[in-house]
Symmetry: C2
Subunit: 396 residues, 2 copies
């Protein structure tokens, strides 16, 4: 029935499905509140109050022709303008509205970029651990995804390994900062070094290598750490992001791509992105989501993310008490601790043991880095605190 | 900057862009109301009143966590259920909710199907004239799009030509009824004959050939003509559709795919579609659009399409008076008249002449059938009526 590739994907992901099914069985048996589910990056903060207001305003105009009709494939012009202003304020750059395109979430944006620039066999290089969907997004468009492991424990970019991995097939280098699953934020020096490397390689291979920065967690950084902008650091930089987290619009699918204002030939790339947005069947980002986004951006409100500071501290305490070592996340809402020694690096075995204690976690191999597990702390603090004895038991 | 294929698409479509730009110049010069723009299939009916009500209800819950959050990749379970009920009532079939998936418009649905089933080099066969995006949707996923011309003037399926065109690469046969751009509705006998042909060919090539029916205009049929359902006619039938037209939700991107309830192995296909929906970056159909759709389906209301009956009559009269021959559309909102003899089949020349008279139309070659032009009559009746002298002048 299915293509060979999709059949392969389904076979390959059967272990994840089984894990989720096992989690469902646990919840059915013990009740939702008695299972400590850290497996899903499903942001649980309510939308900001401006959303209700915006919805009512849209309701008042819902009887008009074209109220929810087609608009240009790049989005409503005024929404595009508001987005450019937002990016400029957030990243300290000066992009024009013609440098941004509104997309069907960040996922739609990344797919549109890959559709626009990848020839068959072109490579996209990521840094492991990485969001598993990157591999699918690349292969959707005939590309080959390769990952260069980050340095252990600190999750810094391993420049020696990255330098060695870039070849004449490399079309895109993809970073994700704050990182899912590690919470790592690359400091400005690493971004500068990366830009320098990509300049050198672009020149060596006589074609621009794009730096794609996937930044849905940019708004969520702790301890005053800043997320440096790639847009002014490298001319072939593209930022992908979404309003899934900072506006709690995950299901409505609103995201964007921004091109570096100094990119040579950026009009051509934007034409390709607009075409890709259309022909991939997104056509345009959802009309209502765009209008909600615009309203929120103009009013300057987002979700109240302060609760994550407490959740992070609570999770750190739970792991400390269980003697589980970890990198303290600088952003996003994930811990990516090492598997305790007694599991000899077997992340699947550790997840199985956690599941016996009613804890749901995702093995690091799901992110291209075995030996770790991902714990998403976008859950109620009580769930985090109540999980302490279970973590202790599993790690003991 | 761009991939070879996307560069080719942009080069190839430059004539369409130029035509639209010329239209824009005309509007700037003469004013919007003095240009007779029949070039866009942009439905202009207002959403049904239930939409405003539904938006207000959603506003009342917009402060809740997950109000617009993630849901399963196939859509909200209750929206999926409402959709299955709607399809059953509309098509007189009995599909289960697990036979339907909510998609990012029909465009997202068609792309998801092609992603799920096409191996590289697999062919999708359409009937010309056809919606030009089909070619892109196919090539997005490594497929090859081929079109078999319909019979001239009646636009019936040419079964001899179709039989000859199906080979061991054929994976999908794609029909669109009511048709864009002709307004043709295939009668039940042709659907039965098509099913018979596909059964024979599937058996000959020892693999199922899918029949994909793209039906966004199903609700818009004239003179009591019925659009026969393909779902009970052929086991490997898939219906794609959207709520762009019947709920005026074109910009919000809500559509669906339905599998024939008698399809062997349909669970496997549905797994592939759900995966494709996710990895192509739609993730899920927009949350708010799904909820609006559900509300409208449960209440049983749609746009008031009765105005199209008058518009069709007005357009027919304009063409009659100008001596332009045409097939009377049985559904949808397009006329696809033949180019008058004096243009010797040159549809681009006729469109250029129409443009001199401030009429915007699309050459048939944009739909894989030169010698005709498409006129979209989803515009105010006054625009149709006022265009009469211009059509006369251009055709004289």
């Amino acid at each position: 029935m299915l293509s060979k590739q999709i059949t392969g994907y389904l076979d390959h992901s059967s272990w994840i499905r089984k894990m989720f099914e096992a989690g469902g069985v646990l919840k059915a048996k013990y009740g939702e509140d008695n299972v400590y589910d850290f497996s899903l990056g499903n942001p649980d903060l309510p939308p900001p109050p401006v959303m209700a207001e915006a919805m009512r305003e849209l309701a008042d105009k819902a009887h008009e022709p074209f109220a929810f009709g087609y608009m240009p494939n790049f989005g409503y012009p005024d929404a595009r303008r508001a987005l450019a202003n937002f990016v400029n304020a957030e990243q300290g750059v000066e992009v024009a509205e013609t440098d941004v395109i509104i997309t069907c979430g960040a996922a739609g944006g990344l797919n549109a970029l890959f559709r626009a620039v990848l020839d068959p066999g072109d490579e996209v290089l990521g840094i492991a651990p990485y969001f598993v969907e990157y591999g699918f997004y690349t292969e959707n468009h005939g590309g080959v995804f390769k990952a260069v492991p980050a340095k252990p424990d600190t999750f810094d970019i391993d420049f020696e390994a990255l330098d060695a991995a870039i070849n004449h097939h490399t079309r895109v280098v993809l970073i994700n900062s704050p990182n899912n699953p590690t919470g790592k934020i690359y400091p400005a020096e690493q971004i500068a070094k990366l830009a320098e490397l990509l300049r050198k390689k672009s020149s060596q291979f006589v074609k621009p290598i794009f730096l794609l920065a996937d930044e849905p967690y940019r708004f969520l950084a702790y301890d005053g750490v800043k997320v440096p902008s790639v847009l002014d650091a490298y001319p072939y930089a593209v930022v992908g992001s979404s309003f899934s987290k900072n506006l709690a619009l995950a299901g409505e699918r609103v995201g964007y791509l921004v091109l570096s204002p100094s990119m040579p030939g950026k009009q051509e790339l934007m034409s390709g992105l607009i075409l890709a947005n259309r022909i991939l069947g997104y056509v345009n980002a959802p009309a209502i989501g765009q209008k909600l986004m615009m309203r929120a951006l103009v009013s300057g409100t987002t979700v109240d993310a302060s609760v994550y500071v407490e959740r992070r501290a609570a999770m750190a305490k739970v792991l400390d008490d269980a003697g589980i070592g970890y990198f303290m996340p600088q952003g996003a809402f994930y811990f990516f601790p090492r598997v305790p020694d007694k599991f000899a690096g077997d992340d699947v075995a550790f997840c199985a043991r956690l599941q016996e204690e009613r804890i749901l976690a995702v093995p690091g191999r799901g992110f291209g880095m075995p030996g770790y597990v991902r714990l998403a702390f976008c859950v109620d603090r009580k769930i985090i605190e109540n999980s302490a004895p279970s973590f202790k038991a599993a790690a003991a």
